[in-house]
């Protein structure tokens, strides 16, 4: 594995501000918003999750706003392992995937065999995708091979399920660490790298996502292998989501602008995007009263 390049934070801020200055209007906005919807991993990861709540969310995944025809479904629903079976039954016969967090999400503070069996369970229950967390404590202590080995072992358990590796960038302190962790996860076998659990702030800032996209870009340039990206947490409105699309387009290219390679981990984003779509279509500003909150 080649050494990770250093990252200058001020330079990253400047680049990000350029993405944010892209003006997305008219047809580009409509197309972009629909793309965003189709990239969302609708997520519920609460201790108080109930089968009822998961059921509602899975229904919404395929019925975002039925009164407005032609909308895509979301990409996936993301749940705890115990809800995978239920979720899977709810979205069968649709394009919506089921993702499960694992490896003692969100802290990752468990021995490796627990993490392996946690993952195995989710895979056995039918999870299409596994969202694992890295051991941030070990990473920050400089025990990179420990972190690497863990990812590699989980990857093995995943089988055909795609592995998303959550770096929990909010705990990594610097962009240099974000870059290092991205490179490490990619080389250890991640199919996707993901910013955050959603439990820690800051989560998916554009600066962090940009840094991770750069790692993906470099890996692709070196190997020709595409890696996916999932910013999660903090992307709650359409504008921010569109800026993320701009970033993916300019850093990685059009090939990445599908939900095979890019996802948003978010729960409240979908409704804001829907409201924007309706606004763009009707010219009227929308009220949240008209959009279901599942």
């Amino acid at each position: 594995m080649s050494l990770s390049p250093t990252v200058d934070k001020v330079g990253v801020e400047e680049r990000v501000s350029r993405f944010q200055k892209r003006s997305i209007k008219t047809s580009a906005k409509m197309d972009g918003l629909k793309l965003v919807l189709n990239m969302i991993d609708l997520t519920t990861l609460e201790g108080k999750d109930t089968p009822g709540k998961v059921r509602q969310m899975c229904y919404k995944a395929n019925h975002l706003h039925d009164s407005f025809p032609g909308l895509p479904s979301v990409a996936a629903v993301c749940v705890y392992p115990s809800m995978v079976k239920l979720a899977k039954s709810m979205v069968k016969n649709s394009a919506v995937k089921v993702a499960s967090v694992s490896t003692a999400f969100p802290s990752g503070q468990a021995p490796i065999d627990v993490k392996i069996s946690d993952t195995k369970f989710a895979v056995d229950q039918g999870a299409d995708e596994i969202d694992m967390v890295i051991s941030r404590g070990k990473f920050l202590a400089g025990e990179f091979s420990f972190v690497y080995d863990e990812i590699a072992q989980i990857k093995e358990v995943c089988g055909k399920s795609r592995l998303k590796v959550i770096l929990e960038t909010g705990e990594l302190a610097t962009l240099d660490n974000v870059r290092k962790a991205s490179d490490l996860a990619i080389h250890a076998g991640a199919d996707f790298i993901k910013t955050s659990t959603g439990k820690i702030q800051p989560a998916a800032t554009m600066q962090v996502t940009y840094t991770m996209l750069m790692a993906i870009r470099d890996y692709y340039d070196e190997t020709g292998i595409m890696i996916g990206m999932k910013p999660a947490g903090g992307i709650s409105n359409s504008k921010l989501a569109l800026h993320n699309l701009v970033m993916v387009k300019e850093v990685l290219g059009e090939e990445w602008l599908t939900n095979k390679w890019f996802r948003f981990g978010a729960s409240s984003l979908a409704n804001d995007v829907l409201m924007q779509i309706l606004k763009t279509e009707t010219g009227k500003y929308q009220s949240s009263d008209y959009f279901t909150i599942d």
């Binding site: 200058d8 934070k9 001020v10 801020e13 962009l175 600066q207 962090v208």
Partner: protein, 292 residues
């Protein structure tokens, strides 16, 4: 029998050596009564050319010395000059001065050297700035020597003017090629010996004697000379300005009475400095507690 005095040979000073002019020419320095006092080298354009090469070569090491070290070397010049006072007084008298005014000129010259010695490690502090730019960058401006300076020594004094104009140039880390006072050249050459004895590296100051009218052109048109200093020669200003256009030399033309005690100042140093501004990002935007 009266002892036969050993007469001094006045030569030019270039690259830390005392060669004769490559041209082999000479001219007579006369005393106030029009009587010859010495054969002076009548320097040529090739002497200028060689001197500029020496000055350029010496520049890096001289400007790269610590300011404190330059300060010590300048102070050393004053020390050596103090020890050789009588020689300068004799020469000044030979060139027509009274003893008391010669003494005053030498002593003032020494004091002026001490003055500029003290500036070496201070002028940067006064003229530099940290600039509060409106972005997340650390930005500062500081002085750097302009480079090789061509100096035409004031023609109205033999020693004091030369020292007044030269010291700020070298205090600031520049190297110099100077044309001595044409009519009163003795002190310039003897001062070269002082420089030579004072740890000033060879090539930092190069002193050419000869006809000013003949030498300003090769000096002021030289593409490797970065600046020109002239004082009290308004009749030459236009010519020098024109010669200086091709490589945009910085021409400093002074109209001053160097003999006045007050005519020593910081700006004579900074006139031969460039201002360099450096930028670098500052990582923490909005303070240490900021988040990305």
């Amino acid at each position: 029998m009266k002892r036969i005095e050993v007469l001094k040979t006045y030569k030019i000073y270039a690259g830390g050596k005392f060669p004769r002019t490559e041209s082999g020419r000479y001219y007579l320095a006369l005393n106030i009564n029009g009587e010859p006092i010495a054969n002076m080298c009548r320097g040529s354009r090739k002497d200028i050319r060689n001197a500029v090469v020496f000055a350029r070569r010496a520049l890096g090491a001289w400007s790269g010395k610590t300011a404190f070290n330059r300060s010590q070397i300048l102070y050393r010049i004053a020390e050596v000059l103090e020890g050789r006072k009588s020689q300068f007084i004799e020469e000044l008298i030979l060139q027509g001065m009274t003893k008391s005014s010669a003494l005053k000129e030498v002593e003032s010259s020494i004091d002026r050297i001490v003055y500029y010695a003290g500036w070496c490690d201070k002028y940067c502090q006064i003229g530099s700035s940290v600039n509060p730019v409106s972005s997340s960058h650390f930005n500062f401006s500081t002085y750097e020597p302009v480079g090789v300076v061509g100096m035409i020594a004031p023609q109205d004094t033999s020693l004091y003017g030369l020292i007044s104009a030269l010291m700020p140039i070298i205090a600031g880390g520049n190297s110099c090629v100077l044309l001595a006072n044409e009519k009163m050249p003795l002190c310039a050459v003897t001062f070269a010996e002082v420089l030579h004895a004072s740890d000033v590296p060879g090539g930092v100051v190069n002193i050419i004697t000869g006809h000013i009218s003949e030498l300003i052109k090769p000096l002021a048109t030289h593409m490797d000379v970065n600046a020109i200093s002239i004082s009290n020669l308004p009749e030459l200003k236009r010519e020098i300005d024109l010669y200086s256009v091709d490589n945009l030399k910085r021409v400093r033309s002074y109209d001053v009475n160097w003999n006045s005690k007050g005519n020593q100042a910081l700006h004579y140093i900074t006139d031969f400095q460039e201002i360099k501004t450096t930028w670098h990002p500052i990582e923490n935007i909005g303070g240490a507690t900021s988040t990305y």
